[in-house]
Amino acid sequence: MADARQSPVSAHAENGADIGIDRLLRMYRQMVRIREFEQRANDLYLRALMPGLTHLYEGEEAVAVGICEALQPDDYITSTHRGHGHCLAKGASPDLMFAELLGKEAGYCRGKGGSMHIADPATGNLGANAIVAGSAGIATGAAFAAKRLGNGRLCVCFFGEGALGQGVLYEVMNMAELWKLPVIYVCENNLYNEYTHYSETTSGEILARPAAFGIPAESVDGQDVQAVYGAARRFVELARQGHGPGFILCNTYRFRGHHVGDIKRDYYRPKQEEQQWMGERDPITRLANSVAETGHADRASLESLYAEVKVEMDQAVEFAIAAPYPSIDQAEQDVYA
């Protein structure tokens, strides 16, 4: 892990011209929606309106958005404890998400799941998972079913680099490759497993791990949504053509703490590192600059888009705050189908 603390480099960035301005603007909007969603989640925590803790995705928006932009609505995803970004990027509604974060009946899981378990069949979201690597099996199984049923779907399995510690990931990668399953493993390397730098927990080279199982793997600058999208498109195509699994290593960074309560962070990561990433590698600023510089959209239209999102998110929060809790008898419902 020689380059553990180095700047990640995009392997195959595509340029905006290939992608098309509509898609670029949609990706921009989606990233902004995630950013604004997370800020309100943090705010709800600070205002003691949100039960428990939550893990924010700020800084990593380009990963979820670049990947999900390459998917069809009925493709599946599985997500993690840091799952709001994946969920929104796949098409979920922020009002029902906030309602879930607050434990309200109107939430995606009727308040039973909370931040770490949002699931949404309508958008193919098989669920966030609070067990690190807990959805590796589920994602691979969804790809197994898709192949057997011949429905043309695929599944993206999102996980943090911490999940590389869990053996089950290697077990399912082995089977995915043996059986040529349409699953794409997306590793979000934000450099930290909770409070420990990944170089202290990860031997060898990350990309060599999927490669050892015969799975095509590449790394991409996770702060560059166009690069992420480009890589996703390539792997999606391979999977749909029956070539089996892929692995995308997205080099990224979480701008906030491990969870909303993780405020004092200097003992495990330097302030300077945070400032550098936030200043130079903000995926939203980066896309805005790219779009503006190439003249595809002007700053003003980006700003008005931003303003729209704020309104949407404010309304979603209001909806969630006003929504009622489930009645107590709900506790015993949904244990069995």
Partner: protein, 331 residues
């Protein structure tokens, strides 16, 4: 055994399980089997022999030795349109997959507010006395029985095995299905007509007046044997098989104990914090005012299963031990 008009054949328990699987696989193309050496080998116990020939390697899938991984694949496949039957060769390997069954399969439906479901069956084994030692002889059904969201099935006859397996495959929830390794060759009547057996319905394997013996899986035959011995000394024992530890047919157990006023619970899991504790508690609470004697629990000796034959035999409840306990309670 319920009444039925169809001709009765004798099948072994292994054949009954296989027939249930084959029928369900014919009926529903979403049903598939995943596990180690399940295809050509038909499992080491040969329970699945012939399935791959009929249904092909797409539906009878040999896996690597990756219990957590392929159980997880079963969960995901169940959520997205298949109805997988996952094969875990020895119940002792449940230790490897508790995350997949207890944290994932059992909770997906609830955590998603009822949106996703996991129609998966996990077949595995229990039972000692095969001289297989401590890591291949356990009866760990108490663990999944403790987890809300799972159903747990313990057939004790070929008839029950077939009917319960068909119910398990059609159930929309994760079902853990335990087969006693020593019973695979046990023969019993199985109708050739279609039937299923509902979960949560205990079966009175033998009616009696003086004492209730609740027995599960491998212990049902032991209890029936003890009941015969008891008859010879004039004690009429009622033998009840709950068939599913969850859902549990509390009423039948309690009613029987109320009637006989004495009860023994026999199960092959480790004695402490095992299945006998729950069942005995249910009876002790429900039949409190009618019991003449404390409910007696008999599990496997609370030690890892030893290899040496005389030691291993000493750890498991036997006809004689159940007979002795019953006689003492009735004394």
């Amino acid at each position: 055994m319920p009444e039925t008009e169809s001709p009765l054949r004798e099948l072994t328990l292994a054949e009954a399980v296989r027939e249930a699987l084959a029928e369900e696989m014919r009926r529903d193309s979403r049903v598939c089997v995943l596990g180690e050496d399940v295809a050509e080998a038909g499992t080491p116990f040969k329970v699945l022999s012939g399935l791959v020939e009929e249904f092909g390697k797409e539906r009878v899938v040999d896996t690597p030795i990756s219990e957590p991984g392929f159980t997880g694949i079963g969960v995901g496949a169940a959520m997205t349109g298949l109805r997988p039957v996952v094969d875990i060769m020895f119940g002792d390997f449940l230790t490897l997959i508790m995350d997949q069954i207890a944290n994932q399969a059992a909770k997906v439906h609830y955590m998603s507010g009822g949106h996703w479901k996991v129609p998966m069956v996990l077949r595995t084994t229990l039972g000692a006395s095969r001289r297989s030692a401590a890591q291949h002889s356990q009866s760990l059904h108490a663990w999944p029985s403790h987890i809300p969201g799972l159903k747990v099935v313990l057939p004790s006859t070929p008839y029950d095995a077939k009917g319960l397996m068909k119910t398990a495959i059609r159930d929309d929830n994760p079902v853990i299905f335990f087969e006693d390794k020593m019973m695979y060759k046990l023969k019993g009547p199985v109708p050739s007509d279609e039937y299923t057996i509902p979960f949560g319905l205990a079966d009175i394997k033998r009616a009696g007046r003086d004492i209730t013996i609740v027995a599960t899986s491998s212990m049902v035959q032991v209890a029936l044997g003890a009941a015969k011995l008891l008859e010879e000394v004039g004690i009429s024992a009622e033998v009840i098989d709950p068939r599913t530890t969850w859902p549990l047919d509390e009423r039948t157990l309690i009613e029987s104990a109320k009637k006989t006023s004495r009860a023994i619970v026999v199960d092959e899991g480790y004695h402490r914090y095992g299945v006998t504790a729950e069942i005995a508690s249910v009876i002790a609470e429900g039949a409190f005012y009618d019991l003449d004697k404390p409910v007696r629990r008999m599990g496997a000796m609370h030690v890892p299963v030893p290899f040496s034959p005389p030691l291993e035999d000493a750890t498991v409840p036997t006809e004689q031990k159940v007979f002795d306990a019953a006689r003492e309670l009735c004394g």
